[in-house]
């Protein structure tokens, strides 16, 4: 008897709690319809990384400033790229967010999973390629910036060895390596790049280890596709050169930092939020570069680079903007020596989006 009543009490408690949750959730959703639109962001790192996540957060703040009271924004930081991401994205969707930006490549399937559960919520997945009716994708043509730094590195290296620190073998990263190498080897056919995969977007210690290892092996320029400024700092300490990543990192390594590829997300975020408010949002794929201002180069370091080299770099930027220069101009061969882009042609976006091979001249293999 006693046991039974206990069970009853527990069941009653569960029902009451569930009811309260249901009612409050209803309220939240109602508030939102009456009031402003809510925009949520999922970040892979902390906004204080002064790299990738930092720039997304700058974009978020730009959005808030542009749209004022029409929207409010929320973010969840340090969301790992695994099943945990589903929980975080769902949390935003459940709490009445109308538009959710998931800002890392490996949130792709998780974003789609949650998007299926919440057909009325709009999703924007950064750097991915899978879209549905309520999932857009967007990315920046960072590789255009890689062509610029490749050109500079090819001219600046004295040991003809360039160290390249990378995170995960995904198309975005491999595209960057290829664009960099094509530009560097064009001005300096003897250039070699040494690649270290650290399998993390963000681990300052490991990134510093990788930079020191590369410098120890003779690299005199450090390039990175990871998110902290530790590699640039290590380069500064060792007296070699480096490029910043995602944001201007000159403050941390003033004597090593030649320039950086900056990601400018603000205008895109503001435009998409505006579409949401106006009711014109639709699923699409956006891939912008120098031309649209989604990628910019940090001010070139005049202490390190000659005026000639700076004007060459600027000429590449302009060439890309007005279409006279493309990062992947044929002929391009893969490592097996097969022609992948014919002379006089450029790689199409489909090939770029799924690029998982190294071009001829790069040593090593793409990790599987």
């Amino acid at each position: 008897m006693k046991k039974q009543s206990l069970v009853l009490v527990v069941i009653a408690a569960i029902v009451v709690i569930a009811g309260i949750f249901y009612v409050t959730n209803q309220n939240i959703q109602k508030d939102v319809i009456d009031d402003q639109k809510k925009v949520g962001f999922i970040y892979i790192g902390p906004p204080g990384d002064h790299g990738w996540t930092y720039m997304h957060d700058v974009g978020r703040q730009y959005l808030e400033k542009e749209l004022g009271d029409a929207v409010s924004t929320t973010y969840i930081e340090n969301v790992p790229e695994n099943a945990d991401a589903v929980r975080s994205i769902r949390k935003l969707a459940e709490s009445g967010h109308d538009l959710i930006f998931t800002t890392s490549f490996n949130y792709m399937d998780q974003t789609l999973e949650v998007a299926e559960e919440f057909p009325d919520v709009k999703f924007e997945h950064a750097t991915g390629f899978k879209r549905t009716d309520n999932v857009s994708t967007y990315s920046a043509r960072f590789y255009e910036g890689r062509s610029v730094i490749g050109h500079i590195a090819g001219k600046m290296t004295e040991t003809n060895t360039i160290g390249y620190i990378v995170s995960f073998p995904i198309p975005e990263v491999i595209r960057g390596i290829n664009a960099f190498y094509l530009a560097a080897s064009k001005v300096n056919p003897d250039v070699k790049i040494k690649i270290i995969w650290v399998y993390s977007w963000y681990d300052p210690g490991k990134e510093a280890d990788a930079a020191n290892t590369l410098i120890n092996q003779g690299a005199d320029i450090i390039v990175q596709h990871t998110d902290s400024y530790a590699p640039c700092q290590a380069a500064e300490k060792a007296g070699v050169l480096a490029f910043g990543q995602a944001s201007n990192q000159e403050a941390f390594c003033p004597n090593a930092h030649m320039t950086a590829i900056e990601d400018i997300w603000g205008p895109y975020y503001a435009a998409k939020a505006k579409e949401l408010v106006d009711g014109t949002w639709k699923s699409e794929d956006t891939w912008h570069g120098f031309k649209e201002g989604m990628v910019e180069m940090s001010p070139y370091n005049e202490k390190l680079l000659s005026a000639d080299l700076i004007s060459e770099a600027k000429a590449i930027e302009e060439g890309i903007e007005n279409g006279t220069f493309h990062s992947f101009e044929g002929p391009i061969y893969n490592q097996a020596g097969e022609l992948v882009v014919k002379e006089g042609e450029v790689a199409d976006d489909g090939m770029l989006a799924g690029m998982m091979f190294y071009v001829q001249g790069i040593d090593g293999e793409v990790p599987q």
Partner: protein, 289 residues
């Protein structure tokens, strides 16, 4: 391979492994007295952030080190109070300490992340870490106090019956572990990668914990184990840069895999004694029992 290259590699291994040795040896002493502190990651983060923030504010390495150590004493003191006096579950409390450290360090460091500082040379603490292993090894095996610590860890009731103060001993070992963790954190944010960024310890606390088991609670083995783990990580980077194809994910998993294998061995009771796991590890001590 020329000599410069090899010396360079060894140098990087030394620099990157030291925090594991510092935090690991602290945890080893704590565990020897029968307390499992899973809060290393949080303690290291707090040590890192207090060291960094103090350095930015005062510009003085000594103050920076001092406050970093203070943070370790305070946090591990709280942990000790909870698990020893209030007898909370050690595992849950340790995990809570980690989560607390992650959050609090992020909050404290928020306005300081991205402040450039001049790093301290790592070699002071590298040398210290070797001396530390020597002294801890000597302390645990050759001194009376060291034997008391081990007695408390092996059987706290017997130790109590012999007239030793179990609670006091454990307070001291927990605080020692906390101080070593905060030193490791200080090393990371001030010497190794001189910066503060949220979560910058990036799991090294957990590797240090794994190391203690891997080393089967022996200081010298911990030193060797740490350098195996650190050496493998740096070697695989070197091989990658030489163009050798390697499954990098596998090497990232190595420390944990190795620890799992050791744990499997320990779980069979016969060799457990040989492997010197403290038998009172993670068992709360009640004075009247």
């Amino acid at each position: 391979m020329n000599l410069d290259l090899i010396i360079g590699i060894l140098n990087i291994v030394l620099i990157s492994t030291t925090p594991l040795v510092l935090a690991g040896i602290g945890e080893l002493v704590t565990e020897k007295s029968g307390v499992l502190n899973l809060g290393l990651e949080g303690l290291m983060l707090m040590g890192a952030v207090t060291g960094f923030v103090t350095l930015v504010l005062t510009g003085n390495y000594f103050f920076s080190l001092f406050f970093s150590i203070i943070s370790g004493i305070i946090l591990s003191g709280i942990f000790a109070f909870l698990v020893l006096n209030l007898m909370t579950n050690q595992i849950a409390t340790g995990l809570a300490l980690t989560i607390f450290g992650i959050g609090l360090s992020a909050m404290i460091g928020k306005n300081f992340s991205g402040t450039p500082i001049d790093g301290l040379s790592p070699y002071y603490l590298i040398i210290f870490s070797f001396l530390l292993v020597f002294f801890v090894s000597y302390f645990l095996s050759k001194t009376k106090s060291g034997l008391i610590v081990r007695a408390v860890g092996e059987n706290h009731n017997s130790a109590y019956a012999l007239g030793y103060n179990v609670i006091k001993t454990r307070y001291l070992t927990i605080i020692f572990g906390g101080v070593m963790s905060s030193l490791a954190g200080f090393y990371i944010s001030v010497c190794y990668a001189p910066m503060w960024q949220e979560g910058m310890i990036a799991g090294r606390g957990w590797i240090a914990l794994a190391l203690v088991v891997f080393a089967t609670w022996k200081p010298w083995r911990l030193l060797v184990g740490a350098y195996i783990f650190g050496g493998v990580a740096i070697m695989q980077m070197n091989l990658q840069a030489f163009g050798v194809k390697l499954p990098g994910q596998f090497f990232n998993m190595m420390p944990y895999l190795a620890t799992l294998i050791v744990l499997v061995f320990i779980s069979s009771n016969k060799i457990r004694l040989k492997l010197s796991a403290p038998s009172c590890l993670n068992i709360p001590y009640e004075k009247n029992s």
